[in-house]
Amino acid sequence: MSTFKIFVVEDDRFYGEMLKYHISLNPDYIVEKFENGKECIDNLYKNPAVISLDYSLPDMSGMEVLKRVKEHNADIPVIIVSGQEDVSTAVKLLKEGAYDYFVKDDETKDRIWNALKNIREKLKLEQQIDELKEEIGKKYVFNNIIKGNSKEIKKTFNIMEKAVSTNIMVSIYGETGTGKDLVAKAIHYNSVRGKFPFIAVNVSAIPRDLIESEMFGYEKGAFTGANTRKIGKFEEAGKGSIFLDEIGEMDMNMQAKLLRVLQEKELTRIGGHGIVDVKARVIVATHRDLAEEVKNGNFRQDLYYRLLGLPIHLPPLKERGNDILILAKYFMDAFCEENGMTKKNLSGLAQDKLLSYNYPGNVRELKAIIELAVVMSNSDTIDDIDISFISTNKDSEFFLDEEDTLNGYMRKIIKHYLDKYDGNILKAAKKLDIGKSTIYRMKKNNEI
C-alpha cells in the first residue's frame, strides 16, 4: 500500500485547506478537497480510501452524503467532522455506518490524524489477510494438494469439483494418511465460502465431556469455570466451513445433538436461551465405514443419512499405482529444497521397491519413507538400500517384515483376523472367505 487517497469535504474554505495541509504532511496521503456534497459524490469513482466529511454542507446534510457514499461503497470509512456537539446526531451517524464523529475543536486535527493512522493500519491488515487468503487458496488448488495422475485420483478430482460448485454437505472417507483434511480444505478454499473461516474439529481429540461446549459454545455461568461467554466452532465458522474430522468417533449423545443442529440449522449455546443461526457448510471425514458403524449400532442412521451428502472416497495409496512415484519425486524435491540439498533421483530398483510396498500409513507414510531415504542416501541417486519401510501398522507385518512360507503367511493372517475380531472364528472366517472348519482345525493342531 503506497498512496492513500483521502477526500476532505468541508464548506469553509479556510478550515478545509488547513485540514488538507495537515493531512498532507504524511507523504503517503493524497488529499482532495471538496466544498459541497455533490462534488464529493461525483468524485467517488476515484475510490477514496477515507472521507473526512463536514456534517453541515450547503447543498445536503452529512447524513445524506454518508448514505450516498455507503451506497457507492460500504467499505469506505467516513469520518464525520462537525461543529455541533450533538450526541443524538452522532449516534444516528454512527448507526448509519460513520467510522467516527469528531467535534471541531483544538484536538480535531490530532483525532483525524490518529483515525487515519488506524484506518490505514486496518486496511493494511485486511490487505494482508486477503493476500494470505489468496495464497492459501493457491496452496489448495486441487492438483497442488493431491499429486497424481491415476484414474482413481482423477475420479476424486471430479467429485471434488462438484463439491466446490455446490453447497452440498460433503463426507470424506479414506484410510489414515490419505489426505482427508487437505481435501476438506481444498473444497473450502476453492468454493464461494473460501473468504470465510475454515474451522477444523478433530472429534476424536476432544474429550467427550467437552465436545458439546467446543462445538456449540456456552454462556457465562453455564457451568463451573464458565467465566465468560465462549462461542463454539459452528459460530466461529460463520459463513465458512466446519470440518468434523473423525466423525465416526462421536458418541451417541452428541450425535443426537449434532443431528438437531443440522436439521434446524440453528443452535443454542450451553446455558443460553437465544437462537444462533448456523450458516456454515459441514464437511465430515472418517476412516471408518460409517454404514458398517450404523449396522453395528455405533452410529445413528438418521445422522448418517444427514451427513452423507456428497461422499468422496479417497483411494489408499497402494491402489494409486504410479502416483506413488509422482508423490515420491514431489516429496524428494520438497525435502531437498527445504534443507538446501541438491535434488536427487530414484534408481530403478528404488522405484520397484516403492511400488511393491502397500503403505498402510498411505501418503503420510510415503513422505516419511522418502525423507528418510533422502537423508540416508550418499549420492544424487536414491537406491533401494536407502529405502526403509518404517510402518508400525500391524497390517503390514505379515507381508513385509520377514520372509515366510505360504503356510506361515496363512497362519499369521488368520491369527491377525482372530485378534481383530476378538477370537470370533465365524467372523474371521467370513471376512477371509474360508471355511470355519479350517480355522478350528488349525487351532486344534496348535498352528495358530
Binding site: F14, E17, S56
Partner: protein, 116 residues
Amino acid sequence: MKEEKLYDLTMIRDMLGDDDEVKNMIGIFVESTPVSLHDMNEGFKDDDSDKLARNAHKMKASLDMLKINSLYDDVRKIDKDFKVEDIPQDELDVIIKKMNTELEKVFEKLKEEFKL
C-alpha cells in the same frame, strides 16, 4: 486592564510550521471569511435565519482556529440550530454588529501583519 488580543495564531503556526504556508492560509482566511460574513449579513437583513445560522456555523471553526475569543460566545448563539425567535431582535442586532466590527478589525490586522 490588558486589552484582549484580536486573534492568536499559535495553533495555526503549530499546525503549519512554515511561515510561507501560514501567510498562504491567512490569505485564504481573509479572502473566504468575508464572503461568509457577507452571506450571514444578508440572512440577517432578509430575516432568513437559516442562511444567517448556516454562515455563522460555517465560520465558527475558523474563528476558533484563529482563537478570535471575543466572538466565541456570539457565534455560538447564532449557530446552526438558532431560530430568529430565540433571540430578541435588539440582542441579535448587537451580535451581528459586533461580529462585523470585530471581524473587520481582524481582517485589517491580518492584512497588515502579513502584508496581504
